[in-house]
Amino acid sequence: MDPSIILAAVDVETAGAYAETAGRAMGLGLGTGLAALGTGIGLGYIFGKTIEAVSRQPELKSEIQSIQWLGFALTEATVFYGFIAGLIAFFV
């Protein structure tokens, strides 16, 4: 394909002016989104394992649940590290 079609469709002069903002926005979006990916997997593991553990040892339910919330909060925080890094990329 002839690349000049794309270049003709996009005004290079204006695109250049927005390139930095676009890059920052992508940094914020990708940073938070990828962090959310990992956090989602981690949270799924925690709750899945909790369900497994409780179904094996129902009498330990309350103990397991208090550890579960500890793990939940620790894992959930990782998405916010990505988010804060994204905010730094966006604003600084």
């Binding site: 208090s66 919330w69 500890l70 939940f72 909060a73 620790l74 959930e76 925080a77 916010f80 804060i84």
Partner: protein, 303 residues
């Protein structure tokens, strides 16, 4: 019981009225900016040796949380009864049991628990009250004003002291200093630093491991503060965008805005319940649990 319902009804009426009046007037003046929720205009300017110590919204929120932590809880404690009447004492007893049995005694040995329970308990209550008053709309948004009966009043807005990095950072810094001091007091400087290296590491590997462990001590400070700050900030941003910010930013005309507003408004209610039901308490809990774990790790014999 009746009086409480009247107070709630009056509060809701004021809220609904200001909700209907304020954004409409602000939109008409083309000055509604969702980001102003986090703006901190100076109220009373104070400069001490060139350091800006002005009173603003965040300071007010800290003061309110401090008053709730000290005065209200002391009053409840003074009016304790052997046979609990009403829900207040029961709630406080559940909170006390959480702080005492779960957080402090569950992670520290009895001597350390007795020494650090007042600190950890206060920390828990302060963070919890800071988070919770952050979800009550209070009339402190001086960036926007509404005019009721000729008087200019600040609009209602959500803000939390813990959604400002400086507050969680200082709390985390106090914790950080405390557990280092406690560790040095228990084992001496050399013994404490040696304690960072896990048992079984010998020879030339001690240097790199010590470096990594020293780095992880600094990361603890950052992770402890950023966890609380970012959780509350993200919650507030979510509520801000769902509760109208998105509609204003997209500006899709009357019909589009109405449809989008109804959808995001419903989501805002769900997120609001999630925040007050889980996040506010859980973040206070996790901050204090980690404080207890760090304190225990600093004085523990075996690493």
């Amino acid at each position: 019981m009746n009086r409480r319902w009247y107070a709630l009804a009056a509060w809701l009426t004021i809220m609904a009225g200001s909700l209907l009046a304020a954004p409409g007037a602000a939109l008409a003046a083309e000055e509604f900016d969702p980001a102003s929720e986090f703006a901190l205009p100076t109220w009373i300017e104070i400069k001490v040796f060139g350091i800006d110590m002005s009173i603003n919204k965040a300071v007010l929120y800290i003061v309110v949380a401090t008053i709730l932590t000290t005065v209200v809880v002391s009053l409840i404690a003074r009016n304790m009864k052997v046979r609990p009447e009403g829900k207040v004492q029961t709630t406080v007893e559940i909170a006390y049991s959480l702080m005492k049995d779960n957080i402090t005694d569950g992670n520290l040995d009895p001597k350390m628990a007795a020494r650090w329970f007042p600190f950890i308990g206060t920390l828990f209550l302060f963070i919890w009250f800071s988070n919770m008053i952050g979800y009550i709309p209070l009339p402190f948004n001086t960036s926007h004003t509404m005019t009721i009966a000729g008087i200019e009043l600040p609009t209602f807005a959500l803000y939390a002291a813990t959604a400002n990095i400086s507050v969680p950072f200082i709390l985390a810094f106090i914790v950080w200093i405390s557990y280092h001091v406690e560790g040095i007091r228990a084992k001496g400087v050399v013994g404490y630093v040696r304690g960072w290296v896990p048992a079984g590491v010998e020879g030339f590997m001690v240097g790199p491991i010590l470096l990594i462990e020293a780095l992880s001590q600094v990361v603890r400070l950052i992770s402890l503060s950023v966890r609380l700050y970012a959780n509350i900030l993200a919650g507030h941003l979510l509520l801000l965008f769902m509760g109208g910010g998105l509609v204003v930013l997209l500006g899709m005309g009357v019909l589009g805005s109405t449809i989008l507003g109804l959808a995001t408004g419903t989501l805002a209610v769900v997120f609001f319940l999630f925040e007050i039901g889980l996040v506010a308490t859980l973040q206070a809990f996790i901050f204090c649990t980690l404080t207890a774990i760090y304190l225990d790790g600093a004085v523990a014999e075996e690493h």
